[in-house]
């Protein structure tokens, strides 16, 4: 007959094994099928590219990042990623100083223009990036700085 302590230790050991085997979610969150959870946990461009199995990114004038220079509130910052190049596989929007660098990833087909706009949360003033991952493996990006302020009487 196992003691309660032994039961708990056994449970913890099993959980650790399962986590190691990737059978439990890395965090407590459930995930939609095919969701690249690991990519959403990375903190830098380099880590992100590794998680996506992509090469080193290079800055490009053919990629644009649009957004305000200053945001009145970090809860809602409108950002856009676009490129004039053909053969884009996906567009990513990154916020460098967020707890995880990637906010969103858009997988495109020929039926849509390579231009997306959304709104993100920014914890503080930071560089933001638009990244275009090309079909031929190239990774191109553009960056700008967005200052985040806290307005009014505070919140």
């Amino acid at each position: 007959m196992k003691t309660r302590r032994e039961m708990l230790q056994h449970g913890a050991a099993v959980a650790t094994l399962l986590m190691g085997a990737g059978l439990l979610p890395a965090t407590a969150r459930a995930q939609a099928t095919g969701y690249k959870a690991a990519a959403f946990e990375t903190k830098s461009m380099a880590e992100l590219m590794k998680a996506l199995g992509a090469g080193a990114p290079t800055e490009s004038k053919d990629v644009t990042i649009t957004g305000p220079d200053i945001a009145e509130n970090g809860a809602v910052v409108p950002l856009g990623a676009a490129t004039t190049l053909a053969g884009v596989k996906s567009l990513l929007i990154l916020v460098e100083k967020n707890p995880s660098i990637m906010t969103s990833m858009f997988e495109l087909t020929d039926a849509v223009e390579a231009a997306v706009n959304t709104r993100v949360k920014m914890g503080q003033s930071s560089n933001v990036y638009a990244v275009a991952m090309m079909n031929d493996g190239r990774v191109l990006y553009a960056q700008k700085e967005v200052k985040v302020t806290l307005g009014g009487c505070g919140g």
């Binding site: 200053i70 200052k147 307005g151």
Partner: protein, 267 residues
């Protein structure tokens, strides 16, 4: 000595010039940010929910709000917002939108107005009030503020509102006028509209209800006033109480002719 004075004066002017130039581009930056958010205002989601609530049969009496009189006749929603607060003959008092919605929710649907008034913002029926405020104000979007002052009680409420506006109290000795009593004031990067007169189209009273991005919530005028009182460190006013309605009359009458942009989007 003279040269030093002249130099320091020049230096001060140079700094003042630089600060002036910087504030101008910062103000432009904020304006640009606001413009980027105009298209795709989450308030539209609340509007849709409010329209649904207006038309859905609910409450112990299982009735919709479609017979609710907001001042222009039972069920007339378009144009009602820009004439509120106003006097209502059936209740014999001046009411703002939220007060009038409470009346209709109670008399038509059998819901408990006092309970709704006590419910915290964003919860239960209060969440529904916000959606209804978005829906009703949206129906007057683009129209100009035109509150009536024909009835004696409407005039009395204007005067009460003015007194309340200038009443200083609380631990900081603030009044509404401390922030909103003069033109050209601001707090951090936000311009403070002068609410003793018409501050312009889509400004002040004409800019609420609004979706507040900082909290991701739709703020009705009652919520806005409640938060003003919080910032002044006053006790919270009762929901849809006389003083809040009176302030609405004062600001709304002052804003006569201003174009309403409600429901707007704000930081």
């Amino acid at each position: 000595m003279k040269a030093w004075k002249a130099a320091s004066l020049l230096g001060a002017l140079a700094i003042a010039g630089a600060v002036g130039a910087q504030s101008k581009s910062t103000a432009d930056g904020i304006a640009e940010y606001r413009k980027m958010l105009e298209d795709g205002n989450p308030a539209e989601l609340f509007e849709a929910k409010g329209e649904n609530l207006w038309k859905t049969q609910r409450g112990p009496k299982n009735a919709s709000l479609e017979q609710c009189d907001l001042g222009k006749g039972p069920g007339v929603v378009k144009g009602a917002w820009v004439e509120l607060p106003r006097y209502f003959a059936d209740t014999k008092r001046v009411q703002d939108l939220e007060s009038r919605l409470l009346t209709c929710m109670e008399t038509l649907q059998g819901l408990n107005a006092a309970e709704i008034a006590k419910t915290p913002f964003g919860r239960g029926e209060q969440a529904n009030m916000e959606a209804l405020a978005a829906y009703v104000s949206a129906a007057s979007n683009g129209m100009r503020m035109n509150l009536p002052q024909a009835h004696r009680d409407e005039q009395v409420m204007y005067e009460l509102g003015k007194r309340a506006f200038f009443f200083r109290g609380g631990p900081m000795d603030f009044s509404c006028a401390s922030c909103h009593g003069e033109s050209g004031k601001r707090v951090r990067l936000q311009d403070l509209p002068d609410l003793t007169k018409n501050p312009g189209d889509g400004i002040g009273f004409a800019a609420w209800p609004a979706y507040r991005v900082s909290s991701g919530e739709l703020w009705s005028m009652q919520r806005r006033l409640n938060d003003c009182y919080r910032q002044q460190r006053f006790p919270y006013p009762g929901y849809a109480s006389d003083v809040t309605v009176a302030l609405g009359v004062y600001m709304g009458v002052n804003a006569k002719g201003a174009q309403s942009i409600a429901p707007a989007i704000k930081r």
